[in-house]
C-alpha cells in the first residue's frame, strides 16, 4: 500500500477537527445534555488555529517528516522531468490567481465595518438550584388550561403571539426575539419548573453577564401569583401542541 503523503494527512486531520468544532459540537451536546450548544464562531476560529499549530508542531518534530510535508508543493513547482501540459497549466493558474485573490481578501477585510460586541450565545440557561425541586402543584384540567389561556392572552400574547409562535405585535422589536413555543427547540425540550423560573424572574433573573440586560421578558413575580403562572404554563404547552420534556 502506498503511503498517504504527510501534507494530505495533515490537511485531513485539520478538516476533521475543524468540522467537529464547527458542526459536531451541537449534535454531541444535544445527545449528552439534551440541548444543542454550538460553539460561537470566535471560539471555532481559536480552536482551529490551535489545532493547526499542533499539527504543524507534530510535522516539524522529525526532519524527514518535515521534508515529506513540503514534498508535494516542491514537486508541483519544480520540474525534475519535462512537465505535462496539464501541470504547466495548473501551475500558471495558481501563480496568476493567488495574488489577486489575496488582494480581494485584503480589500474586503479593510472595507468591512467592525462587528459589534456579541452577547454570549444560548437560549437555555442552567436552571437555578432553588427551582430544581419545584413542581407544578396544579392538575392539568380543562379549567386550569382555560384560565391560563385568559391570562396568556392578556399578558403574554402581545410578544409571544396569539398563535404561540413568537410572532406577537411587538416581537420584532426585541433581541432576543420572544420564544416560539411551537418550535420543538423551545418549551418542548424544557420542563414546567424551567418555564416557572423564566416567567417569575424574567430577564433580570438570567445569569449575570449573559443577556439579562437586553431580555425584554418582564419579571412577573409580584404581578402574577404562582398558581396563575402554572396555569399559563399549562396553557402554553397545550395550545402549542407540545409536551414538557419529562412528561413525554
Amino acid at each position: 500500500m502506498k503511503k498517504v503523503p504527510t501534507l494530505v494527512r495533515a490537511a485531513m486531520a485539520f478538516v476533521i477537527l475543524y468540522g467537529f468544532f464547527a458542526f459536531g459540537i451541537a449534535p454531541v451536546t444535544k445527545a449528552l445534555v439534551g440541548t444543542a450548544a454550538p460553539l460561537p464562531s470566535s471560539l471555532v476560529l481559536m480552536y482551529s488555529g490551535m489545532s493547526a499549530a499542533a499539527i504543524l508542531l507534530y510535522v516539524s518534530l522529525r526532519e524527514e517528516r518535515w521534508r515529506d510535508f513540503f514534498r508535494p508543493v516542491v514537486r508541483f513547482l519544480r520540474d525534475d522531468e519535462p512537465p505535462t501540459r496539464a501541470k504547466r497549466f495548473a501551475r500558471a493558474a495558481v501563480l496568476v490567481l493567488l495574488p489577486p485573490a489575496a488582494g480581494a481578501w485584503a480589500y474586503a477585510r479593510a472595507s468591512a465595518p467592525p462587528e459589534p460586541p456579541a452577547d454570549p450565545p444560548g437560549i437555555h440557561f442552567n436552571l437555578p438550584d432553588k427551582y430544581a425541586a419545584v413542581e407544578n402543584p396544579l392538575p392539568w384540567t380543562e379549567d386550569n388550561v382555560r384560565e391560563g389561556g385568559i391570562l396568556y392572552t392578556r399578558n403574554c400574547a402581545m410578544c409571544h403571539g396569539d398563535a404561540q409562535d413568537g410572532n406577537g405585535l411587538f416581537a420584532r422589536a426585541w433581541q432576543p426575539r420572544p420564544a416560539n413555543f411551537r418550535d420543538t427547540g423551545t418549551i418542548a425540550q424544557l420542563d414546567e419548573n424551567y418555564l416557572f423560573w423564566r416567567i417569575k424572574e424574567g430577564g433580570p433573573g438570567l445569569p449575570k453577564g449573559s443577556i439579562e440586560h437586553r431580555s425584554a421578558m418582564p419579571v412577573w413575580d409580584g404581578v402574577l401569583t404562582d398558581d396563575e403562572i402554572w396555569k399559563i404554563i399549562m396553557f402554553e404547552y397545550t395550545s402549542a401542541g407540545v409536551k414538557p420534556a419529562k412528561r413525554k
Binding site: 480581494a104 422589536a173 425584554a216
Partner: protein, 440 residues
Amino acid sequence: MILALAIALAQSESAGRDTYLRRCAWCHGDTGRGDGASAAGMFPRPRDFVRADYRIRSTPHGRLPTDEDLARAIEKGLPGTPMPAWEKILSRDEIAQLVRYLKSLSPRFADERPTPIAVPSGPGSAERGRELYRKARCTLCHGDAGRGDGGIATTLYYEWGLSPPARNLTRGWTFKGGHDPRDLYLRITGGLNGTPMGPYADLLTDRERWDLAHYVASLDVEPSETTEDFVVTATYIDGEVPSGHDAPEWGKTRPITIPLGAQVIRDAPIRWWSPTAGSVTLRALWNGREIAFLVEWGDPTGRGYADSAFLQFPAEAGTKPYLLHGDEDESVLRWHWQSDLAPVEPMGFSVHPFWKEGRRHVVFRRSASGTPGFRPDEFIPLLVSVRDGSNGERGDRRALTTWIYVRPEPRKTFNPWLEALACFLGVVLLQVWILKKVRS
C-alpha cells in the same frame, strides 16, 4: 339525502365551534361579541361577529363579506394588529369550518348574498391619482403626505366611541387588508364599515378610484421589515456637525429604521400596549469633536401635546444596564427632549426639534467627549424611546427599542485599495522567493 346534508352541515358547524373556542374566543369572546378576556387592552378591538360590521371586505359599503374575505383574514391575519396568520396552524378544512361558524353568529348571513366588487384591470395612473387625492379631500384625514395627520384627524370617532387615528398611508405593512392597488381599490370603493372611512363608489368613477388606489400604493414608503443589524454608524464628516434636521450633511450617512416595542417590561404604574410609533429612523454624524443624532418617527399630532424622545446610554462605560431604566447596580443616563419643556437638566447637549406632515424630527447634538465618550470604532450601547402625548403616553407609557449600538466611524486615513495592492504585491514577492528557493 337532505337530512344527511343537514347533519353534515351541523357537524361541520360544531367542529368550527370547537376550533373557535380553542383558538379565537380568547379575544373575540365565547359568544363572538368581540369581548374576549384580552379584548379590553386591544386596539383595534377584536371584531364583533354578532354585529357583523366587517371592515375588510371585497363587497360594497354596509354589506357582509364573502366567504373568501373571511378565510383570507384568518389565513393571512390582519397586519398591524394582534390577529395572527393561522394558515400554518389550522388546516384548510378547519378554516372553512370556522368561516361557516362565524357566519352562523349573525342572522344576516342567512338572507344576504354578498357579491364582490369588480376590480378594474390594466394600468392605473398614480400621477392622476395624486390630483384626485386632493380633489376627493383625502388630505382632510390622511394629511398631505399621507401620514394620517390631516386637519380633522383628531376629531374622528366611530360607533364604539373610540377615536381611530386616520391610517398613516406611508406604512403599508400596517394596512389590515393589504396594500397593493387591488386591496386599496376595494377599501376606497367599499369603505370600512363602521368607521369614518366611507365608500367612494358614488363620488369617483371606477377609473378615478383605480388611479387613486395606485397613488395611495405609491405613498407606502416606510420599510416594512426593519433592519436586523442594530448598529447606527456615526459617519465622519469634515467641518461642523449640523443642528438642523434638513442639513445636507445628513445625506452623507445611511439611515437605519429600527422597530419599536411597547413598554411591556415594567408593571408599575402600567404596562403599555398601544404606542403610536411603530419604528424610529436614526442617523448620526460626527467630526471627532462633536456628534449629532437625527431621530425621526411618525407622530400624527404635532402641536398641543407633550411629546418626548429619549436617547439613553450606560452611565458608566463598559456596563450593560437593564432595558429602560437600568437597575441599582448599573444605571443609565438620558438625553431627553420634551416638546413643552426646556431640557430639564443642563446635560451639555442641545436639541433641535421639528415637526411636519405627521413626522417628528429631533436633532440631539453634543461634544463627543464626556460621558458617554465617543471614540472611533467603539461600540456604545444606545436605547431610543419616544412618547406621543396625544395618545396619553406619559412616564413609562412609551415605545422603545432594545439595546442597539452606535459606532463612530474613524476618519478615513487610508484607502482599502491601497491595502489590496500591498497584499497583492506581497504575495507576488513571496511566490518569486519560493520559486527561486524550490528551483535552486
